[in-house]
């Protein structure tokens, strides 16, 4: 290892050039003694029983969290509930859905209606396009 190599090291917490300028290399015999002292005095390292079980459970939880995060990053569907609404309310709701889609706020619009005139014509809880909503709104209005 050259001095040039050390100066290219990017570890931010240590000045290696200073280390090597002032500290002598550790004496191997002293290192052997130090190692024996530490290994002999400290208890054997091990995790508590059941570590693999806990790790697999943590892995499953991590995956679930990642999946939820991914789902949350997608635009949520706008749900307009028009159950038991009068006809003109349904038209207003459908118009609002068109506006939401047209503005690009949500990529999915779901419209529900008590008498199902819009639902059956348009979507039935499936993603709906602007054209579909416009079409179903026209049908409903007629």
């Amino acid at each position: 290892m050259t001095t040039d190599d050390m100066t290219t090291d990017d570890t931010p917490t240590d000045d290696h050039r200073n280390d090597d300028a002032t500290a002598p290399d550790a004496d191997e015999a002293a290192l052997q003694r130090a190692g024996a002292l530490l290994r002999g005095a400290l208890p054997p390292a091990a995790f508590r029983a059941g570590f693999a079980d806990r790790t697999m459970a943590a892995l499953a939880a991590s995956r679930a969290a990642t999946a939820m995060q991914a789902a949350a990053s997608e635009p949520a569907p706008a749900v307009l509930r028009a159950t038991a609404m009068q006809h003109h309310f349904r038209v207003v709701a459908a118009a609002a859905a068109v506006l939401i889609v047209a503005l690009g706020v949500h990529n999915t619009v779901i419209v529900r209606s008590g008498d199902a005139s819009i639902v059956e014509a348009a979507i039935g809880l499936q993603p709906v396009s602007v054209q579909t909503v416009l079409s179903s709104t026209t049908d409903s209005y007629q």
């Binding site: 290892m1 190599d5 050390m6 090291d9 570890t11 917490t13 240590d14 290696h16 280390d19 090597d20 500290a23 002598p24 290399d25 550790a26 002293a30 290192l31 003694r33 130090a34 190692g35 024996a36 002292l37 530490l38 290994r39 002999g40 005095a41 400290l42 208890p43 390292a45 091990a46 995790f47 508590r48 570590f51 693999a52 806990r54 790790t55 697999m56 943590a58 892995l59 991590s62």
Partner: protein, 188 residues
């Protein structure tokens, strides 16, 4: 060599979503991870959490593991990174909440709470290790506790070998001072 081949096959299966294969890897290498994590953190409550975090990070990086170093070395590198992060965040928390001078002194100097008369060598040694900076402690754990070569230690910590040796020299000097009679007893 057989272990290495098995590891490679298990990693390949784990990449395809085989959790049983991944579990075998956890069981096979948990002791090596435990040596690193408990060496750095002691038997603290969060040692187990940091161990789990190590394997979760490894799982997330399965595709990045190319087998250029042994899986054990790769895992120890992740474990060391997780342990260093845990140490640094604990340190920040302690210093943020410590208010009175005595508590501050103990947070900065763990040996202030360890009596040379009442405590066994293990407690004294643990306390002495805790006085080392995280970077110096990492070298002691890998080179002396885990008996890795200077080259391996440098590879895991991603620093030059000269840096490993100089950090080790400083760390051993500090341990000698911290442990005093305990060190001398073992050195004879």
């Amino acid at each position: 060599m057989i272990d290495a081949e098995h590891d490679t096959a298990l990693v390949a299966r784990a990449r395809l979503g085989d959790d049983d294969a991944f579990r075998i890897l956890v069981e096979r290498h948990q002791d090596a991870v435990a040596r690193t994590v408990t060496g750095m953190l002691g038997s603290r409550d969060d040692a187990d959490d940091v161990g789990q975090q190590t394997f979760i990070r490894f799982h997330a990086a399965l595709d990045a593991f190319r087998g250029e170093s042994s899986l054990r070395t790769y895992l120890v590198r992740i474990a060391m990174s997780c342990a260093l992060n845990a140490l640094r965040s604990t340190r920040r928390r302690e210093l943020r909440f410590v208010r009175d001078d005595a508590a501050l002194e103990q947070a900065v100097d763990p040996l202030a709470n360890a009596s040379p008369v009442d405590d066994g060598p293990a407690v004294r040694i643990r306390a002495a290790l805790d006085t080392l900076t995280p970077d110096h402690r990492a070298v002691v754990v890998l080179r002396l506790l885990d008996e890795r070569s200077t080259r391996e230690t440098a590879e895991i910590l991603q620093v030059p070998e000269g840096t490993v040796l100089s950090r080790l020299s400083r760390a051993v000097q500090q341990l000698r001072v911290s442990l005093g009679p305990v060190w001398e007893e073992f050195s004879e």
